[in-house]
Symmetry: C2
Subunit: 212 residues, 2 copies
Amino acid sequence: MQQRARATRESILAGAAAVFEKQGYETASLARVAEAASVTKGALYFHFRSKEELARAVIAAQHALGVERSAAILAEGRPALETMILMSRGFGQDTLNEPMVRAGIRLTFEASAFGQDVAGPYQHWVEGLEALTRAAREEGWLHAGVDSGSFAHVLVASVTGVQMVSNVLTGRRDLMERIEEMWAALLPGILAKEHLHEGPRLVRLIRETPDE
Amino acid sequence: MQQRARATRESILAGAAAVFEKQGYETASLARVAEAASVTKGALYFHFRSKEELARAVIAAQHALGVERSAAILAEGRPALETMILMSRGFGQDTLNEPMVRAGIRLTFEASAFGQDVAGPYQHWVEGLEALTRAAREEGWLHAGVDSGSFAHVLVASVTGVQMVSNVLTGRRDLMERIEEMWAALLPGILAKEHLHEGPRLVRLIRETPDE
């Protein structure tokens, strides 16, 4: 019984992702979501009382997906800098493959439309990347002048911007290439002298790492 | 007569910027814009036949504002790299001070909601910054390995992302500081060896250049 409720909830979230991604928050309706999820409006209301609650759940599901993906990459036990690079790659791939991620992004930037505080996930990414930047410095990959807080901020902003601009210019067709280009621009400014020659190999990780 | 028509058009655009910035494309109505601009609905329809036409005019006005600002900076005749830094500073200041810019940004990223091709202004910025990057390299400020097309793309994406994330995290309160931080991260990777020591001075330009 509980399992069936969970399956219904997941169908609703998938339907909501499809509708929010395509129509945005304002135009989306609960009726349209129920239809996309093939559930009755009654079933939908049992799980989500309002469009706002549903939008919040989509943003939370997007964040959970990103966290899960990052945990899998962390578990590979690579150097922290490689982990960061592969996390940005994972974000790019999930943006291309997962409607939940694209819907979450759209909702986050429409947030003022529905008055929700959406800073949480971004704050979480900044903090996680700050810790990884610190680790990468301690592992000797970054030079001493790299400020972990600043670099984490720049990285979150750059990945966000690369995604937005790739969407505007090419409908995200060049997204993975642009993530490589971003790292190619950032690495020479942060790598420790003795690792500078590894920049090109690190960028190639994005293209060459097998999908799990 | 023509002058009065132009003044009315500008009032309408200012009203539209205020309404689009606050409500987004879907929720905004022409009635609400007419009210914000203190014009009759008849006068509004005389200038703009539809909400889509009005939104397009706001994006065009935002772009014109950015181009005008950049032309003024170019006219100062500084080295190309300083020009690029001050152009990103101008974008930040205009985002903070001009509702037209904030409305244009919001509409651009809601574009899929109203099916308009909004790549034009972004393409324009990428091309302009590519030419400036090439000039900065020819002037000896950038090392030979900097690819002008790549760097222009990364810069447009970074400025876009810095703005989006600053909005989500602090309502843009830290925007100018984040633009400094972005340049502090980018410059060490692009400066020619003999200009590397000038990185901090270049970043300080953002804070210390007097407003025109």
